[in-house]
Every structure is written in C-alpha cells, then in structure tokens.
Symmetry: C2
Subunit: 213 residues, 2 copies
Amino acid sequence: MRLAELSERSGVSTATIKYYLREGLLAPGRQINTTTAEYDEGHLRRLRLVRALIQVGRIPVATAREVLGHVDDDSLGRTIRLGAALWALPQGAEPDEEDPAVVAARREVDRLLAGLGWETARELSPLSPVHRSLVVAVAALIRLGYSWDAELMAPYAELMHQVARRDLDYLETHASDAERVETAVAATVLFEPVLTALHRLAQEEESARRYGL
Amino acid sequence: MRLAELSERSGVSTATIKYYLREGLLAPGRQINTTTAEYDEGHLRRLRLVRALIQVGRIPVATAREVLGHVDDDSLGRTIRLGAALWALPQGAEPDEEDPAVVAARREVDRLLAGLGWETARELSPLSPVHRSLVVAVAALIRLGYSWDAELMAPYAELMHQVARRDLDYLETHASDAERVETAVAATVLFEPVLTALHRLAQEEESARRYGL
C-alpha cells in the first residue's frame, strides 16, 4: 500500500508517519521510484504499536525506540523479549533501601512470590523493574499505616494471574511470534487503562449494592 | 499530640504539615496557647490521605482539596461521597463523540453493563467520568484494530468486581463512616499501582510458564 492508504488504515496522519520514519520508529517502505514507497501489513501493525506507545501510553520517543528494539530482537526468547519491552516502559520512582517501609515491603513481596510459586518472578526479581515498582507501591501503603502483607496480597495476585491468563489467551489468537510480542506490549499499555476504569466502576457498583447511593 | 509527634507518626515533615494547614487540606489543631496546638487521630488519618493523594497519586493541591471536600460532605450517602471523590480524581482525555471508535466503544460498554447487571453504573453513566474513561480506553483499543467488545470485556469486568469486593471487605474492617470514605479514596489511589505491578508480574510469570524464558 502507499503512504496515503497506510495513513487512512492506521488513523495516523502522513506527517506523523514521516516523523516516525525519520525517528527510526518505523522501517522504511520498499522504494518503487524516487518519490514513492510501498508499505505492507507489518508496517501497519508496527504503526499501531508506535501509536499505542506514544499517543495512548504517552511514552517518550526515545523510550519507545528502546521498547521496539527489544520487540525486534529475534535472538531472545519470547518471555525475555516481552519482559525486556515491559522493563523499558516507565516504571516510576526507585525504592529507598534505607527506608524501613521498603525493607518490610520487599520482605512481604518475596513471601508473596514464594507462597504463590511464581518461580520466574522470583528468579528475575533482582533485575526486574516490575518487581521494583511493586515494592515501591506496597511500601507506600505500609508507610501510610495500611497493614499490607503477603496474605492480604495473595488473593489480589491470584486475580491478576487470571487476568494475565486471559491476556495471553487473547494474544494466542494472533498469528506470528513477532506479532505476539508486539501485541503483548501494546496490550500492557492499552489494557491497563481499561482495567483501572473497570476497577473504579466495580468499586462504585459494589458500594451501591452494599450501602445504597 | 503536638506537631512534632504528628510529623513523626505520619512521616510528613513539619514544614509540609504547615503548608497543608495553610492550604486548608488539614483542619487546624486545637489551640492550647499562642504557640502550641494539639492534634488528634483524625488529623493523622487525614494527613495520611493527603499524602497518598499528593505524594503517591501526584494529584495537584487544588484537586486534592476538591476530593477532600467530597469526603467531608456528610449530607451525602456513602457511595455518592466515594463516587464524588473518585470523580474528582484526574480522569484523562474527553471522548470525541464524532469518532466512530468512540461510538462503537460506548455501545460495547453499554452492552457490557447491561449484561453484567451493573445497575448503578448504568444509571450514573451519563454523569460518570469513570464511565467516560472506560469508553476512551476501549475506543483506543478499537481504533488500533483490536476487536474489544462486550463479550471479551465481561470476564475482565467480573475479575475486577472480585477485586472491588475484596477492597470493600478490607475497608469494612475500618471503624467509622468518615474513615471508610477516606480509606476508600486512599485505596483507589494506592491500590492501583499495586494492581498494575501485579498484573505485569503475572504476565511475565504466565508467559514463562507457557513459552519458557
């Protein structure tokens, strides 16, 4: 397809597509003559991912380039590619290891993962920014006087595991391996606002059922 | 307790407490003499909520003041107070009603709520910014070519309903009505980063189990 069709099918303006091409976020099309290039379904899929990261996820261009580099790295296994791409996403503040709330949070998160038998998550924990943001989030709760421990978190983690299983079931309806990693990254960025909104809506609904309006 | 103890027990510096007092986010203590005021457990609880909103949730001071106004409004029922406080939180972009993806998303969200029997959520939908952000998030998925419809969302919504039930069970271990609304608001701001981190961690774990590293 030509640039105009790529723009129409992706909903991204031709000016923005040209910007993504210049920034190396999208591979050049196959040059037909000096003024015309041809794009394929792979370009369309990549453009949707770039748009998800930048326009919906509000991720900086440099970060998006790093995420895409991991998605494209065929030398890695699928979980590592997914992990590396997730890890390149913005993760928030670093934990302060001197803080007693951080120490307590790390202990409870470790107990949680051991109790759940999440072996990969335990194995990757010294490296993983995802693990680190969980520690930071739990430390914030502990510091504010909420007694969040492994036992309290376990049912939440089980529910999130069910959500993750559905995510991967959904991804498995997609064809190629490259597409799956791409879709998984887009899914993380795009599903999270849906989950957050469903969570708030469910809080209201459940509150109304228990206590009335 | 005196200002120094309030600072120590809340982990908020005395300078920051004085700033919150000046901004009207915290009610003045009971004046004992011209230089000393006495604070109680209500001050401590409120200070934790203010800190959750501003330091963890990164919510602007003016928005925090609005949220707290709803929390304090005794003339309203509990769900409405919770809802009004949730609604005052930043909700992201407004949907563009001319956009076919927004029209499709709104139709699927309406079908979802009808199918689930979430009557309060349906009733409040023309007003609710939570409903609006769900429409925006689903529209983003549809625009990028993901076929998200009511049937696909229903199991996610059921899981989030289970999460919300746990949230409220946890809140019911807390005593007073005022405290429950306060805690519910803090919970929304503070639990969301935990849920997000657990979701990403579960995605990695499940991916490793299915496809190896």
